[in-house]
Symmetry: D2
Subunit: 371 residues, 4 copies
């Protein structure tokens, strides 16, 4: 057992063997070693230079996952798909293996006989054991598991069990998915009472990111959007999860919210999410915006976004873990409205990216000076 | 001769029989009569409700053009192309004919023997005659003529002759094109000394408008743009003018400036402008952005913008005429940095649309209360 | 009563007040008058010059429709949407009004108490009355009504009632929609016994037309298509009808058949049909084809088709009416396999457009010399 | 020295260390070893099963290149870009090294003092030495070097020197590029007299392949194409070569020819080729087709093709080498019109892919039975 080490920070990933988690752990090691530039990490830009964020090299990873393929193997799979550079898995194999040793099975697994309370207790124990074993000063829990269907009324989805365990173990919490997590009605009181900082939900990485800058453009120019339609093609685990209409519903709600917020009115148009296994971890989003200009002239904007989901999400996950860790260190609590920049369904009002960025830039001041 | 009428404002369009001018005059009449909603007009949105802008119904149009097809005929041509609603030319025929009577031939026309000074004097006389005849309180000059090639060193391009005439006649001036206009080195002193407000240059209506919101998105997310390539297809007069590489150069400089400004670095990539007469007044802009995400993963965003150039430009021309008129009434002078929102090559620093919009919203306060 | 006139041919449109029918009637009049070139009409190209097709000027239109807006009014609506040239409705008002007089209400209308047999008999009477009144030599029935949901087992959908009436009245029949029409199991015997020529089904006008040339390209180049995904946005009546998943199912089956046929294997990928009223009669189809090249290299083709549904369908409807009329005159009977070129779900095998076109070019020979 | 071995065939690549050549050699080894399926190779489809083509395992590679990076190293570079599977370079290192030993420097190199005749003689000697050393029954020469600018009148471009050497050494010849090669006026007589088979020119791998199926579609449907515009973005050597307007001119001529041929008329529209080094060996081609439908209704088709140039070209190069070898064995001579399927600027008339494919399928019969 190590004594608490103010220089190390735990990052506990729910869904620790998924593509996003594997990319985050691999990438953190590569960046800490100076092997690659920190593209995509907002916390590595100048405005965040002096606000006391934990160094990438000080992050210690662990997590829950019901999958059993070890992280080094998962990294090789991602490299074969072009998600990670081919040389990276071998280079950071040590760091991946170290993180893999801190992954616990989570649950509930099929046939699991544990009741809700027991599961929460077990997960909280996992978090405390991780902290004790690694000697980290604090642990940020980040949900990067596959999107869950909307739970039946009153039921406890797995994401909320993990969120409850985070509260119980005194851990700041981030929900990077559209799953319920900390938003479960029975967790509202505990969250408020916990004195912990938290943030969410549903990371904004592609189509919705675009919408959060294009929506304001139409509004500011007084152009009348008549219909905004979209189709997402994605393979990988997320594609399969979101082919379930119930899971997709949660995700789509976030996408629509951004439009309604930024355009100031609900607009016509559907969003489709197709599971296309042939695309692997890559996703394509096509958007078609029919709008009226002066005198009702009909015009169209179309966008096609082709990105790698894990590579879009992973740097934001690292950003959020660092920001929450520092917020916790400084005693901030409750929802961090400044982090709306990262989410489809943010804790703060307003969905225009530019305003969210302006607000994000106020956070370094609140986080204080260098450590 | 009418005595000066504080309730009427002159709008003098250089290129008064072009598509943009015809659409602006037709549209202003339609909106003043309540026949169509003011889509695309920023000055009709709530933030501009109480700052004393002249009413659309109070605008009186005139202008210079070497072309001779009368405005009512031009409006019919545009309606046949779908730029104006089919019923509009007949409905606003009276207003179009009235404006057409205030159009003077301008110049220099082929074989014109007038020297620079004489041309300026003639144009200024045209402006004064217009004001006297119509009794408007003031006249805003707006350049919406076809883009000129970059002038030979020391030469006076037509756009600068008109700008000089505006100064001489005491008229606020807007350059909606990439042509030289008031930016001619020999006009700098006169502009400063005039005490007039002015704004420019090169209206931001399509591809560059998009770039001014997408560029900041990449920068704020720390994504590394590797190449930004674009092709514009446009028919109409602008397509033909910009097929001239010298004219296109001026326009492209503005497009690149927005990227360099918002991304903080020059990026690879060319911009093509093709004259495609089959498209008439419609334009299509395709942009291809190759960018790196986390760990150097290569991703792509493509946008396709299909719009009607005149319908995009005309409401902004009306906006600018109203804003400049009120600025003049309130005694504002010099370049109005708050109007960067409208231009590719603005008078103020910064090319991110959101910041430009925030700055624009400070203008109503400066323009003061209701008339 | 007129005696049968060998120089005139009836065209009976089921859905006679719909957009396709209105465009076909308007366009036929414009072309007969030499006002516009016959763009989009295959039967006006050289290979069909000397095979005895009825002249466009000789076509007499009538039809069934439960809608009551008269054709001249419908034409004005389409002109306002840009589907027809603005001047056309006035110019061909006489022809539209004449056709409108031959439109009968059809059915079954809500609350209709007529049994299946009675409806068929009534429709057949309408056809015979039309022929007698107008004195046409023969009448081709063409179904251009909105797509029906797949009928319950054993039930008689409206489209099959009309098809049965065509058989009974001795009329050649074309099904331009995915509805059941003549494909109803209980009509198979009657169709065979009728000695009439017929063709169908489901006109190929946009996304599927493209697929019928792109699918063969991939196959001929031995490129391995991994997933073919598509989204269709359409307003108008068809958009609303196809937003019904049951109706869309029929249409999508045709689209998939073309891929399976031309690629030689079923491929992954969904097709969405969205009702976007803002698009009016225009439709946009986006296709995303993920394919493997040499050594498994992943590549992508995307296509965006923006067309006007009625303008794409109407000339094919005129083509088919003329071809069926001549086939009937020459005594051809049964399904005309040569017309697979026009359909998503053709009577003949093979879905590659080039082969279908080659086969179409054999038809003039069978139709014989000039009249 | 080996005696002529009827079971082995030489493939001599001009540009032997370029991306296409490296991919062809690597891929041939992988396919011969059964490590990957023959995606993209037309000669591995059933119609070519029994016409006596040399087996992939029997091909022996050599060539000319002024570059010096050895093939195994080039393969690693391509694997790092995702052009080759990451494991391939190591697996086929032996075959790459073997081919590399047969690469000669070619020329003219900078400062080369050899006259035209001397260069041709030297290259022919290289070919004869290769045949003698390896004992192949015959050697097919394939030009896959970077596109040359159009030569000055009367000058000998390098591609024609290599073509002359092929004739002199009795080798069948394929020009996969738009360079002059065998089309040099001073080679016409020698080519005719040689009794050798040959084919060219300019492989059809992306935008033009698409045009060769889309052009016929518009023509067969009697749709009036108004403008066909395109932009190509490509990195790699070809991007740099084609950024030279003179080189691009040759390539664009081929692209336009396909449109003019298939549409039956010249259409408006430019083609741009941009060098975008960030794209590496990948290319993106955007096409915008403005066309008129019935009654002049304006419609648009856009296509976006994202492919890997080497992976598109390499299997066709292997196809052509095998087909030419067998044609030579069977005594065929002169231009092989059946191979128009592969080229932008084919030896035979007609540019529609479907017709070219039909004609290609007649070749196996001419090539005769199994060896």
């Amino acid at each position: 057992m190590t004594s608490a080490d103010e220089t190390r920070t735990g990052v506990w990933l729910v869904g620790a063997r998924g593509s996003v988690a594997t990319t985050a752990v691999s990438g953190c090691a590569a960046l800490a070693a100076g092997l690659l530039p920190p593209t995509g990490m907002v916390t590595e830009t100048p405005p965040f230079a002096d606000c006391g964020l934990p160094a990438l090299a000080s992050l210690v990873f662990g997590g829950h996952d019901t999958a059993t393929t070890p992280l080094p193997k998962r990294a090789e799979e991602l490299a074969a798909q072009g998600v990670l550079p081919p040389w990276l898995p071998t280079t950071v194999q040590g760091e991946l293996a170290a993180a893999d040793e801190h992954i616990r099975p989570g649950g509930p697994v099929p046939g699991d006989s544990r009741a809700t309370e027991e599961l929460i207790a077990d997960f909280a124990t996992d978090l405390r054991t991780f902290a004790r074993t690694t000697g980290v000063a604090r642990t940020v829990v980040v949900n990067v598991a596959s999107t869950e269907p909307d739970p039946a009324h009153g039921a406890w989805p797995a994401s909320s069990l993990y969120a409850a365990a985070a509260l119980r173990a005194g851990c700041p919490y981030v929900n990077f998915t559209p799953s319920t997590g900390l938003s479960h009605p029975q967790l509202a009181g505990a969250a408020r009472a916990s004195g912990l900082p938290y943030a969410g939900r549903d990371g904004k990485t592609g189509q919705t990111l675009l919408r959060s800058v294009l929506g304001p453009m139409f509004a500011q120019r007084a152009l009348a959007v008549r219909a905004w339609s979209g189709t997402n093609l994605l393979g990988g685990g997320d594609g399969a999860a979101l082919a379930d209409p119930a899971a997709a519903a949660a995700k789509n709600a976030g996408k629509e919210r951004v439009l309604t917020d930024t355009l100031g009115t609900r607009v016509e148009g559907e969003v489709h999410i197709d599971d296309v296994p042939a695309l692997g971890d890559w996703k394509t989003a096509w958007d078609h915006v029919a709008f009226d200009g002066f005198l009702g002239t009909r015009m169209v904007l179309q966008t096609i976004w082709q990105g790698c989901d894990s590579a879009l999400a992973a740097p934001l996950v690292l950003d959020l873990a660092r920001l929450l860790a520092r917020a916790h260190e400084r005693g901030l609590s409750g929802p961090l409205g400044e982090l709306g920049f990262y989410f489809k369904d943010p804790d703060a009002e307003g969905s225009a990216l530019a305003e969210q960025y302006t607000r994000l830039l106020t956070l370094p001041g609140r986080l204080g000076g260098t450590r």
